[in-house]
């Protein structure tokens, strides 16, 4: 019982430090942390699909692109406040996810991976041929110039920490129980009455929504959006790296992975071109040496779990 309180107070203190951070830390530090929050959100959602629902998606960038373009279009073309645009990005992503969920659910394993990727590529081509969003030239999200770093930081923090909380409570709910049953034995779980399609459907929608939201904030920060970058496979490359290094199928994995990834990215920024080679090599080395990632290996060795999914 006491360990529960220690953990709880530890989390509260960490939260307070993060809230106070932009008041005392440098602009650079706040910017790095902002990126970490956003990658935590994106990676947690990829992990929800890959680590818990057993479907490796190579097409998360479809929601990244939609989220980014929603912010641009709703704030610039229609004059909505930018954060309404961010929420719209989440909603539009969910609509797309719902539309493609039927066909997608028929694809298993590798087919799912490539199917989602092709949808994202198709969207990228469609957007680059669409005059409404200025073809492949891209858009500058002008309303985002007026935002202070503070508001983007807090938005990123809410989405980042919120997504961790969401995954945590989701996995402790009935849905999480069903997901793990499916992961462990799909035939047996279906026999005892778990509706596999519905469970994966909910996961897919949630993942689409949060990815769309986080992407909107990403593009508030970068300000410029261009179809082949927004719908590019590079996003999923990063998420894959984060989750594999951190530990797939753990709640903490994406957090640790995102910290490592963003710091490594800052550190390797001067070695342009080599950073992705190094990231790829680290990914392969992790799969060979610690297939459960850092957090997974750590948990196996020491049996310490910060976010226990099992209810004692």
């Amino acid at each position: 019982m006491s360990s529960h309180y220690i953990r709880f107070s530890f989390l509260i203190i960490a939260l307070l430090i993060l809230i106070a951070l932009p008041f005392w830390a440098s602009r650079y530090a706040a910017n790095v942390l902002l990126l970490i929050f956003l990658y935590i959100a994106l990676a947690s959602m990829w992990n929800l699909l890959a680590g818990y629902s057993g479907s490796i998606s190579l097409g998360q960038q479809m929601f990244v692109g939609l989220g980014g373009y929603s912010v641009a279009v709703f704030s610039m073309y229609y004059g909505f406040p930018v954060f309404i645009g961010v929420v719209m990005g989440g909603i539009i992503s969910v609509i797309l996810a719902a539309l493609i969920s039927r066909p997608i659910s028929r694809m298993k394993g590798v087919y799912f991976a490539i199917g989602t990727w092709i949808i994202a590529e198709a969207l990228g081509i469609a957007f680059s041929n669409w005059g409404y969003v200025r073809y492949g030239m891209g858009l500058f999200i002008q309303p985002a110039y007026k935002l202070s770093l503070f508001s983007i930081y807090y938005a990123a923090m809410i989405v980042g920490l919120g997504s961790v909380g969401l995954v945590y409570f989701l996995l402790r709910s009935k849905l999480g129980l069903a997901l793990m049953a499916i992961r462990d034995d799909d035939v047996a779980s279906e026999t005892v009455g778990v509706n596999i399609f519905r469970c994966k459907f909910y996961c897919f929608l949630i993942s689409a929504f949060v990815t769309g939201l986080a992407a909107g904030i990403v593009y508030l920060n970068t300000i410029f959006i261009q179809p082949f970058e927004a719908f590019g496979i590079g996003w999923t490359v990063n998420l894959l790296f984060i989750v594999i290094i951190g530990g797939m199928g753990t709640v903490e994995g994406p957090i640790l992975g995102a910290v490592i990834f963003v710091l490594l990215q800052q550190f390797l920024a001067e070695y342009v071109g080599y950073n992705l080679i190094i990231l790829g090599a680290i990914t392969i080395a992790t799969i060979f040496m610690a297939p459960r990632g850092i957090m997974g290996t750590f948990q196996e060795r020491f049996r310490i779990v910060f976010f226990p999914i099992r209810r004692e």
């Binding site: 087919y111 680059s128 894959l240 090599a281 990914t283």
Partner: protein, 287 residues
């Protein structure tokens, strides 16, 4: 009607090239039930090696095949021996991710070595077109691609049916346990199979380099093309792969003619998604 005749015929010809792009992926998928996401990059390495030999020796691109084929065989063999064999039998995810990591490494290494400039394997054949009664204009290079497709698939068919190694590869694909019991060194057979798949990629890489311009990141696009061929044609069947290539080629060129050149790739992707939804095992595949 004649307006659609040209894209139709050119699509069929282009489809032969697409079949060569997809055949290696199809072969590996049939044998190991795994998808090599670095397939496109291996092929583009073939294109760049062709460029290197062309510049070094001043020979036409098709002659470069003599040098590029052994190079890629070795690359494929080594990749399978030292990377992929280690993650076989651990399910789908590790293989998928190792090959994905490899594709990122290869792509960025190519970018470092060859710069992001557009390249092509120029020869006197690339620009020539064939006039058919003044009605149709067929690029000669498409005809070569189509012929290349037929030759590669015929040779692969003979190899699989007639040689001991071909039997061993097929046996390992059908029943891994029994083939081991029969004394087949399956990890070596897998490595040789990947080498042969890489050889088909060498041919594909040279033909693609002669037909289109290529960049270090072109591999991604051709991986999707290859996957399209495999999905439409169904896995493991050589004839299906060939027909899959034809359908994808026709879909792209007809789509491009109907909707505008920007939508050429999109038309191919849409056909692919429709097939994935309706018949995930492919149009000519068995369940």
């Amino acid at each position: 009607m004649l307006v659609f005749m040209e894209p139709l015929i050119n699509g069929i010809l282009l489809g032969g090239l697409f079949a060569v792009i997809g055949i290696g992926l199809s072969m590996i998928f049939g044998i190991m039930k795994q998808v090599n996401l670095a397939h496109g990059e291996v092929m583009i390495i073939g294109s760049y090696l062709g460029l290197v030999f062309m510049r070094l020796l001043g020979i036409p691109p098709l002659v470069c095949l003599i040098f590029v084929i052994p190079c890629l065989f070795v690359i494929g063999f080594l990749l399978q021996s030292y990377l992929f064999n280690r993650v076989l039998g651990k399910g789908m995810e590790p293989y998928l991710m190792v090959s994905f990591g490899l594709s990122i490494i290869l792509q960025n290494t190519l970018l470092k070595v060859f710069t992001p400039d557009a390249r092509s394997l120029d020869s006197s054949l690339t620009i020539r077109t064939l006039d058919v009664f003044g009605l149709l204009h067929l690029p000669v290079i498409y005809l070569i691609g189509f012929a290349g497709g037929l030759v590669v698939i015929a040779l692969l068919h003979l190899f699989m049916k007639r040689t001991y190694l071909g039997w061993a590869i097929r046996a390992s694909g059908d029943d891994l346990g029994t083939s081991k019991l029969m004394g087949i060194n399956t990890s070596r057979v897998y490595a040789l199979a990947m080498g042969i798949a890489a050889v088909t990629s060498a041919v594909a890489g040279i033909l693609v380099g002669m037909t289109f311009t290529f960049y270090p990141h072109s591999g991604t696009q051709y991986l999707i093309t290859a996957f399209g061929v495999v999905i439409i044609g169904g896995t493991g069947s050589l004839m299906g792969t060939f027909l899959g290539g034809l359908i994808l080629g026709v879909a792209q060129l007809l789509g491009g003619r109907l909707l505008g050149p920007g939508f050429q790739l999109l038309a191919g992707y849409l056909i692919l998604l429709v097939v994935l939804t309706i018949r995930p095992q492919g149009l000519f595949g068995r369940r």
